[in-house]
Symmetry: C5
């Protein structure tokens, strides 16, 4: 799982119908940028927890490979 930061919203009118209704957002992830589907009401600027692969598929119930599944409050030394 990765720590990401939500950057922008993605608009794709023409898409596979299995993806209708999903909220796609760009996220920065270390030194790159990718797209994840938000499942927790994340907004631009939030630091988020992102899950990938078949776990993203199973967690969301959609055929996608990256899901924003948590909003990170803090990261500390326990």
């Amino acid at each position: 799982m990765q720590i990401g930061r939500v950057l922008k919203s993605v608009w794709a009118t023409k898409k596979d119908e299995q993806l209708n209704g999903l909220k796609f957002m760009t996220v920065s992830l270390r030194d790159t940028e990718m797209i994840a589907v938000d499942m927790v009401g994340a907004g631009v600027g939030d630091t988020v927890l992102i899950t990938f692969g078949s776990s993203a598929r199973k967690l969301s119930g959609y055929n996608i490979d990256a899901v924003i599944c948590g909003i990170i409050d803090k990261i500390d030394n326990e």
Copy 2:
């Protein structure tokens, strides 16, 4: 999921018969180039949404690992 740009068409006469009828295209993806199967009628030059792995397999119904599943209209600050 990644943001890609459609570059070219790929022709492979000799291929596993499970792949017959699919439309393979090269896409640029950050600093690399790979092949994805188009499911939404994407054309050369389009900015597209690409899904990978088992989600690409499940979304398309084919044993492939990268699918063009949306055409991106715009990316903005919500």
Copy 3:
């Protein structure tokens, strides 16, 4: 599977309910940092064994993609 070192704890109050009760930790992994779920009582500073992908999902029984599944005692020439 990767060798990682446990860095910090991650707090995410707002998250998908499927993830409730899990212990998220940041781990350093070669030259990067990511998040894994601890299944073996690992603490900050421990050198750990991390499994990814569908194996992490199956091993933990949760829809996550990275699991701390062992604490490494030593690595030697057999």
Copy 4:
């Protein structure tokens, strides 16, 4: 999916019996080299289409993670 070039044949007498009879080949892939199983009669020097992960497993029917599933004839602007 990736575009690769077939480099050499790989010989491994001692291997898991589930892998008996498969034709392993090294392929160059961007700036790296890896091993894939040939399913289409590819030869050294061919430019090929390679599929990975669970799709390679399902396409081939073997527990492998990379399959040569097509021989690329040409790549053009449609």
Copy 5:
């Protein structure tokens, strides 16, 4: 699948009980080092074939993501 070289043995007394009895080894892989489970009696210094992801899981029958599944004898031009 990747070509790796077996480096060392890994000892992890405290681990998920699903992993009991497995033989973990570090392997060098291009410019990095990771851990794989040996299924073919590989020893330190051997050049090996490594499979990843769900194929490693299925091939071994364990929830792991990297398996040493062959010992490479030679790699040549067919």
